[in-house]
Symmetry: C2
Subunit: 492 residues, 2 copies
């Protein structure tokens, strides 16, 4: 208990210094107060202050200079502005995704590739041994239960999920929850429960490609709402679309969206909820990255602002515990009968033993400690990856600055064709996620998403390789253009 409080304390100290950097109290290159000074100012022990500074280093906010102290980290050599807010035509269009998408997922399971494509967590950061012990002990103790259907899901697990929901500002009962085969099935069920073919769904842009695939499969139309890398979808644009278009549902990742990494501020969440309630439109809220925030208090979910049962919250333990367990959940809200029915007809129930293992893991009490550890590591790796990209990618590259999750959204100069880059990278044993798979209009041709799940010398070299492949495209473009120019002159 004491340790937990201490850990919260150093995170609070780190957060408050981060905030000062963010508001410009301290600027890039400036020295921040010494550990001793901070300990005095904030009335914490030297150890706590030291822990806080180590966390800030991990997050890439400050850097230590020997014999001199801590400095706010300078923006790397070439500018790393955030990618611009996406610009969208906001009329409904049939959902259609690049076929390349399935390959991105399949490649993610090939151990020969350097994995910068899929956002699958690093197995080394998962509590594998402890989970295995939980699995073994729960099936040993409750064998008969472990071979039986668990519909709507293991009660202990649903109870613990309901308790944890309080941290996201949500008041849930075990009966408000159905266990699903990961967040992917949760979103699949939710979309199928609220939409019919031809219906229109509002999404953010860029959007998560697996969501797009489900919508394409269902013959849905989508409206893409321009989204800001910092605070998510434009509320004005959303308001405009809801006024003009018959929208059937809204599908968003408000916390640390994939791929943009943006986090919707609480005030926008409240506004969003009010807007949707006004039109009686359900929100399918994917919160899979919510627990992976780099700051010590996780953001609230939009569901926290919902008193009408309009929000269908979807999440899972795939990013934090075990993707292969396929344990996620859905809060069906007022769509419970339809979602229950769909779950039963599509798979009857979710596999029981992995649910029991996750319940036992959560009950054991080490989950928050584990979360703090991996958040810290992912924060560090996101910062290292950002640095590497800033250094190795061509001039004019912009990078998102997510405060949770572990993916980066990278905008490259216009001459870079990310589908071509994807193919060339693949030939070099590197996977990336090309921009056009995040859009129904195959936009973001010069964008890629990179995963910071893994970090090693090998990853660094892969980034260098991607940088040089991209730079070559510029030369190829110039050659192609001048060749075209010559041909043009010859014709004249």
């Amino acid at each position: 208990m004491e340790t937990a409080r201490k850990q919260n304390l150093y995170e609070e100290v780190a957060d408050s210094i981060s905030n000062m950097v963010r508001c410009g109290t301290y600027r890039a290159g400036e020295r921040i107060p010494s550990i001793r000074a901070v300990s005095r100012q904030m009335r914490v022990s030297i150890t706590t202050a030291m822990e806080a500074y180590r966390l800030l280093e991990d997050r890439g906010v400050v850097e230590a200079r020997p014999q001199s102290g801590y400095y706010v980290r300078p923006v790397p050599a070439n500018t790393i502005a955030r990618p611009d807010i996406s610009k969208e035509e906001m009329n409904p269009v049939m959902c259609c995704v690049e076929e390349i998408v399935d390959m991105v997922f399949k490649d993610s399971m090939n151990p020969d590739f350097i994995q910068l494509g899929a956002t699958i967590p690093n197995t080394e950061l998962l509590p594998v041994d402890k989970l295995s012990r939980c699995l073994a002990s729960s099936v040993r103790r409750k064998g008969d239960l472990s071979v039986s259907y668990s519909y709507p899901g293991d009660l202990k697990l649903r109870t613990l999920i309901a308790r944890r929901a309080a941290m996201a500002g949500c008041s849930l009962a075990p009966d408000d929850i159905i266990i699903t085969a990961g967040c992917q099935e949760a979103a699949f069920l939710a979309l199928n429960a609220v939409c019919k073919p031809g219906d229109t769904v509002v999404i953010q842009s860029p959007a998560y490609f697996n969501h797009l695939q489900v919508m394409q499969n269902m013959n849905l139309k989508v409206v893409e709402i321009p989204s800001n890398p910092e605070d998510g979808i434009s509320m004005d644009a959303l308001r405009f679309v809801l006024e003009e278009t018959a929208v059937k549902a809204c599908l968003l990742i408000p916390n640390f969206s994939n791929p943009l990494g943006c986090c919707m501020p609480d005030k926008n969440k409240a506004v969003l909820m009010k807007l949707l309630a006004g039109y009686d439109i359900p929100l399918i809220e994917d919160d899979i990255n919510g627990d992976l925030c780099f700051f010590h208090e996780r953001p609230r979910v939009v569901k926290a602002f919902d008193d009408k049962g309009l929000v269908i919250l979807c999440s899972s333990f795939s990013k934090t515990l075990a993707p292969g367990y396929r344990v996620g959940w859905i809060t069906p809200g007022r769509y419970k009968p339809a979602i229950e029915h769909l779950k039963v007809i599509s798979s009857l129930s979710t596999s029981t033993p992995p649910q029991m293992a996750v319940a036992e893991f959560l009950a054991g009490g080490g989950y928050d400690h584990h979360l703090r550890r991996i958040r810290r590591i992912y924060a560090r790796q996101v910062s290292l990856l950002t640095d590497a990209v800033a250094r190795c990618f061509p001039e004019g590259t912009n990078i998102s600055r997510p405060e949770g999750g572990f993916s980066l959204w990278v905008e490259m100069p216009e001459y870079v064709d990310s589908i071509l880059l994807y193919e060339q990278a693949r030939q070099n044993g590197i996977t990336i996620a090309p921009g056009p798979i995040f859009s129904v209009r195959q936009k973001f041709r010069n964008y890629i998403r990179l995963s910071a799940a893994f970090w090693s010398e090998r990853t660094h070299n892969a980034i260098k390789k991607l940088g040089s492949l991209s730079a070559q495209m510029r030369k190829q473009r110039i050659v192609a253009e001048s060749a075209a120019g010559i041909r043009k002159n010859m014709v004249i």
Copy 2:
């Protein structure tokens, strides 16, 4: 090895005697040769002959009379004819199932009910401890794999399934198999891969209600083909329908269909395959009961006759090992790209640890021994349940005589309303599956399906109760009719 051969031998002996009974070589009430005589005639040991006779008793084929020998079991007091071949209007009709269906599934998880409704296996007959040990040992040895996605499924498991497929006459490679969350997900994926809303699917009648639910959800039309309780769908009717109707797919349970229990003879399987190949129509073949045949050689699958990749074979370990594990499989045949895609977008992959456990169980080599044991027990329970129904149900009741699986299809006198019976039974703590949920035209009003998964004094009493509830309906009908008669007279 020696034991396995011996066991096969007594089953062979039992089968050959069963066959003689079936063809009338020995008739009900007649004495069959003594154990000593059979041992001599068939050149087997006395022990083997005794085992064979015990098996025949379990199957309800013969009965021992003290000091007298073995006799072919008489048909019980009231006639137990098989239900008649179903009569169908064979034009396509929108798929529509009674809403009561979901309750039948939910009730099956309520331990307070006497379970005669859902066909969920008896947990006491599942190898719970051994599976738990397999699960614990495989995640201990291969922890990293156990937390990772396993798409298209654990390779060892797919390899073992491919090997076992030989017993069903099928030659499969591991790559021909995708692991699914049970047979239910397999059928769901198959239907979604080959059909669009409005398409017409051919099914047998009566049909499995979970299949009907998926088709209703997809807005499919169905044509119900009349089916014989002995050998399944009428090939003539099928031929006629395929000639007259634009059919998109065929969905059948050829081996021990649910609820009818019929098994399609090999020659019909060959004819079916030729017919479908002529029209290029895919067959979704649900073989979930194939391994639960009461005779020692399991029947072949239709897939064994398929050289065009038209058959999508679906099955699982839910009836034999662990329903709660949700481990099933699908052979997508020529529809592989579509089915792979649907699996990925709906749940990414099947939960990994239960797959590893089943693979380890199969590799351990006890599966066939386990199957022989449970087949024998289910055969016995089906026979006991048949007897009880024959004794306790009103006159005019007909009962199917399945040679595999563990459900009985019971036709009752016309005055019995099975939906009403379902409700009355439920009030008495008994679940049954009422006939109309097995039909898209809500037929089979006077039919019920009973599960023989459990057998005890309690089950026997439940059958008595169902019998008396049914008999009361006759009185109620007479009262109602005479009341109507009096009213009629009064008007005149």
